[in-house]
């Protein structure tokens, strides 16, 4: 019953289905239920007429365009023929699917059908030129049979064949949307259960695909009819240069095409849902079908009314309309500000006038800038109305285009949905962290390099320091500090340097123990350093000279100690007991 021949099934599955179909025809438990009159009317009359009417609307547009190029082409005849051929195509498709003839009978059926159609097309093409034309054509066919195939006949034949095919396609798709008894799941104990379970899609029709076929055909037909109607409305030469003016008025065949198409799609959607519910054994409560028709009609009427209220043309361009809107907005703000200032100044003047007793002085009000003249709109009694209408038009159109683009991208490519703002922010944050850490490490390396270079320079500087060090430039206080620190440096070289935790006086004991012969000088040097470092009273040059003497002696004692350590036993400096 359904056009399951379009299903991609292998041979075995086809056999299985054939068996099942045979079982149904033999009166199995899934025998088809009797259709009520409403269903019969819908399937046998309403749907075929609706499909034929849609295709006829396309044919009208074709005829309009062809009439511009070939005024003698019988457009009305082909329009009528398109309607009749579409009905015939639907009827023959239903007849074949219902009776299920053999392949041979089917070919014969189609051959006869097409011979009749082509003869009618040929006669119609000739009759377009009148009875004399027909007689002349018949005479020419008897002389030369090739004249039978002239350009008008071929073009008409192609048009009619296309519409015939589309009618069959739509009719078959609509028929396959219906729930077929063969699709019902058999009982688990039934012998067909296993066979059914091995069939593709468990023997069910892919209804969404069929619905998609109908919708796609409708859309492409809509594009074709719009293009044809557009070419019929607009001068093509102006269109090529984009200098054409706008066209207004209702195009009846376009309106009828889309209205019928939307009604048909609404009905197809209901058929799909109902079939799915029936096959899933879900009970349908209430008058759902009647309500559906009512709601589809009401919804389309509402949308049509709302759309009729919206502006469909513009007299001011997009940029001009936007600039005017911005200028108006600015003026509105200025007006509001000036009004506010006026109120404030009035209040202030009243208060000040009462307190001073003098008559209130009139303050000069800021005068708003004059309203810029709106762009000139031809044929408009009020120029601003044209701007408002154009603004509304552009606003709606931009909204429609923006919304459509956004949802188109979101529905098609799940990429936009996948990349949420949170993920993007996280990615940017991670990138920032990576960049920051790498920058920091690079900066640290640079700093380290600079520090190393400076340190090496410093070491070189230290080595060079004695060459540039001048004791004459030092103050007496610094000289004392220098003497002491010089002793510390030398003592540390000898291995008994001052630990950081010990004070100068504590270290004095250590130093005196290591250099017993110079203990007095060590004490003097230490006390002089303490005085120079921690006191504020002035250090005189004679004091420095005394410290210098002590420093020399300590230094000498350290030198002797080192030498003695290099050679052998320790020698006494003060007692002049020198080692040999």
């Amino acid at each position: 019953m359904s056009g399951d021949s379009s299903l991609p099934m292998d041979g075995e599955s086809t056999k299985v289905e054939a068996n099942l179909r045979q079982g149904l025809q033999d009166g199995g438990e899934n025998a088809p239920v009797e259709r009520d009159w409403a269903q019969i009317t819908l399937e046998e009359a309403v749907r075929p007429i609706a499909i034929a009417a849609m295709l006829t609307c396309i044919c009208i547009s074709v005829a309009q365009v062809v009439a511009l190029m070939a005024p003698r082409w019988p457009g009305r005849f082909f329009t009528l023929l398109a309607f009749l051929v579409s009905l015939e195509s639907i009827h023959s498709q239903r007849l074949i699917s219902r009776s299920g003839p053999s392949q041979r009978d089917s070919w014969r059926f189609r051959f006869v059908e097409w011979v009749v159609i082509l003869l009618v097309v040929r006669l119609g093409t000739s009759l377009g030129r009148g009875t004399q034309g027909l007689m002349a054509d018949i005479a020419s066919w008897s002389d030369d049979l090739t004249t039978f195939l002239d350009l008008g006949f071929i073009a008409g034949g192609v048009l009619i064949a296309t519409l015939w095919g589309l009618a069959m396609l739509l009719s078959r798709a609509m028929q396959e949307l219906e729930a077929s008894p063969i699709e019902r799941e058999p009982s688990i104990t039934a012998p067909d259960f296993y066979l059914r379970s091995t069939m593709p899609r468990r023997g069910r029709t892919d209804r969404q695909a069929r619905l998609q076929t109908i919708v796609t055909t409708f859309f492409w037909g809509g594009v074709v009819i719009l293009l044809l109607s557009g070419f019929a409305q607009v001068d093509v030469r102006d269109l090529m240069l984009l200098r054409h003016s706008r066209s207004s008025g209702v195009i009846l065949n376009v309106m009828a095409y889309f209205l019928i198409g939307l009604l048909l799609i609404g009905q197809a959607q209901y058929t799909v849902l109902r079939a799915n519910w029936e096959l899933a054994s879900i009970p349908i409560l209430g008058p759902l079908g009647k309500r559906w028709i009512l709601l589809v009609a009401s919804f389309l009427l509402l949308v049509a009314l709302v759309s009729a209220l919206l502006p469909v043309s513009y007299s001011v361009g997009l940029l001009e309309a936007v600039s005017t809107a911005v200028a108006w907005l600015g003026i509105a703000i200025m007006k509001a500000v000036s009004l506010l200032l006026l109120v404030l100044s009035t209040i202030l003047s009243l208060i000040l006038g009462r307190s001073s007793g003098s008559p209130a002085q009139t303050t000069s009000q800021p005068t708003p800038s004059p309203l810029p003249p709106p762009p000139s709109v031809e044929g408009e009694p009020w120029p601003w109305w044209g701007v408002v209408r154009s603004l509304t038009f552009w606003f709606i159109l931009t909204g429609v285009a923006g919304y459509s683009l956004l949802h188109f991208a979101r529905d098609r490519w799940g990429l936009l949905q996948g990349i949420s703002v949170g993920r993007l922010l996280a990615w940017l944050r991670g990138l920032w962290h990576i960049l920051r850490s790498r920058t920091r490490s690079a900066a640290a390396r640079v700093r380290q390099g600079i520090a190393q270079r400076l340190a090496s320079r410093g070491r070189r500087g230290d080595r060079r320091a004695p060459r540039y060090f001048s004791m004459r430039r030092l103050s007496p206080r610094d000289l004392v500090r220098y003497y002491y620190l010089s002793i510390l440096r030398r003592s540390s070289r000898e291995g008994f340097g001052r630990p950081p935790c010990s004070t100068p006086l504590e270290y004095q004991e250590t130093l005196a123990r290591e250099l017993p012969d110079a203990a007095d000088q060590v004490a003097r040097l230490s006390w002089a350093f303490v005085e120079a470092r921690y006191s504020e009273h002035p250090i005189s040059s004679p004091d420095v000279a005394a410290v210098k003497g002590a420093w020399r002696l300590v230094k000498r004692a350290l030198t002797w100690r080192r030498r003695a350590a290099d050679k052998g036993p320790t020698v006494s400096v003060a007692g002049k007991d020198r080692s040999p």
Binding site: L211, Q212, V215, T216, F219, G222, V223, L226, L227, S229, G230, Q233, V234, L239, H244, R246, S247, S248, G249, I251, V254, M255, F258, L262, I265, G266, Q269, Y270, V272, L273, W277, I282, P283, I284, L285, G286, L288, R291, W292, L295, F299, L300, L302, V303, A304, V306, S307, A308, L310, V312, S313, F393, I396, V400, A401, Y403, S404, L405, F408, D411
Partner: protein, 393 residues
């Protein structure tokens, strides 16, 4: 019509190129169909409210009708509304109820289906799934309403004789007219002072009110408190009999509780099973009370409770003694009686409690167990009959 947007975009370009006013009108119509269909479909389900009407508690074998009242609170009609209610398989087969309907604004419809209470238990009803969409297949929206309703099916109550228990020999101790013992915790009234009355029994408030010495009258009883202690630890039962025996234990507990409440006794329940409504894994404990309200509490708990891995039954038994007053009766319903259980029972017996032991799945010959129990003064019974469980098979 999900692929309407490419067509709208194409229409936009055609209209922009040709500058035909009517094309813009067609563009508006299609955009309106797409946009309003989406908005409509989104709002349909939001506007649907529902209410389930059914009797929340039922006895085994009852048929509970459920009325699902759906109301379209919104201003938009629902062209189609698919209702799918998930149900427990124990109550309905197949385990769902579904239908398709349509609702105009402010319209209300009532859907009805039946639930067969074939097994005791606590059964959440739902969730309810509502699915709807627009007229052209642009958008489909679904909403799952979480289940907030539940049906409690009480366990079966059978005459004790059917369980093989001695109906003539009551559990616990009935109130007696011989006022040998009086329970000082149960005051039943006052009377005038008589010579020999203890000073402790004087009711000073009543005395002050009447101007004459009044003494308290206590309920004459040895003990009328009973506590049913039910073992639902699945590990204590043999694998092949666990399901049957635990259900039999629940039926036995319910029947005994009913019997005792009918005799106006005080009954409590302790159980080692799992209560699906309880957030903690503590054993179920209902302190001894009187009256039908207590019976309903016990039956509700016994309806909900499920066998599982719980705390040790012996520990539960020891803890139960805290609920009982001295001289109370403990009715122990367990799978079998091992040494550990006997030790615990002996301790309770020595502490002054009366004990009755009912075994559901003994692993040793019952005669031996009965003899052993008899030696320590405990009456032992066995419940094995499975014909009482046929109803839920």
């Amino acid at each position: 019509m999900r692929d309407l947007l490419p067509f709208i975009l194409g229409l936009f370009f055609i209209a922009a190129i040709f500058r035909v006013d009517f094309f813009f009108y067609i563009l508006y119509v299609f955009f309106g169909v797409y946009f309003l269909s989406r908005v409509w479909a989104d709002r349909i389900v939001r506007g649907i409210v529902f209410e389930r009407e059914f009797q929340r508690r039922a006895f085994l074998g009852e048929r509970v009708p459920v009325r699902l009242r759906l109301r379209n609170r919104g201003f938009l009609p629902a062209p189609w509304l698919r209702v799918h209610e998930r149900l427990p398989i124990q109550l309905k087969s197949p385990n769902f109820y579904r239908c398709v309907t349509s609702l105009f604004p402010r319209e209300e419809t009532t859907l009805t289906y039946q639930l067969d209470c074939r097994r005791r238990g606590y059964y959440p009803i739902g969730p309810l799934l509502l699915t709807s969409g627009d007229l052209f297949g642009v958008h489909t929206v679904g909403k799952e309403v979480p289940n907030a309703d539940a049906l409690i099916v009480y366990p079966r109550i059978v005459p004790l004789s059917e369980l093989g228990l001695p109906a003539q020999t009551p559990f616990g101790v009935l109130p007696t007219r011989q006022r040998l013992y009086e329970d000082p915790t149960r005051i039943v009234g006052v009377r005038g002072y008589q010579s020999g009355d203890s000073m402790r029994r004087i009711h000073w408030t009543a005395t002050a009110a009447t101007g004459a010495l009044q003494v308290k009258r206590f309920e004459p009883a040895i003990s009328i408190e009973s506590e049913i202690v039910l073992n639902l630890n699945r590990d204590d039962y043999t694998v092949h009999r666990a399901e049957t025996a635990t259900e039999l234990g629940i039926v036995t507990a319910a029947s005994i509780a009913h019997f005792l409440i009918e005799k106006q006794q005080t009954v409590g329940l302790s159980c080692s099973g799992i209560d699906p409504l309880s957030e903690t894994s503590q054993p179920i404990a209902l302190p001894p009370r009187k009256g039908r309200e207590q019976l309903m509490h016990i039956l509700e708990v016994l309806a909900r409770v499920q066998a599982g891995k719980g705390p040790s039954f012996v520990n539960l038994l020891r803890r139960t003694s805290l609920h009982l007053t001295w001289g109370g009766t403990g009715i122990i319903i367990s799978a079998h009686a091992d040494d550990q259980l006997f030790d615990s029972m002996l301790l309770l017996k020595r502490s002054g409690f009366h004990l009755v032991l009912i075994l559901l799945d003994p692993r040793e010959p019952f005669d031996g167990i009965r003899e052993r129990a008899h030696l320590v003064g405990i009456r032992a019974y066995q419940v094995w009959e499975e014909r009482d469980l046929d109803v839920w098979r």
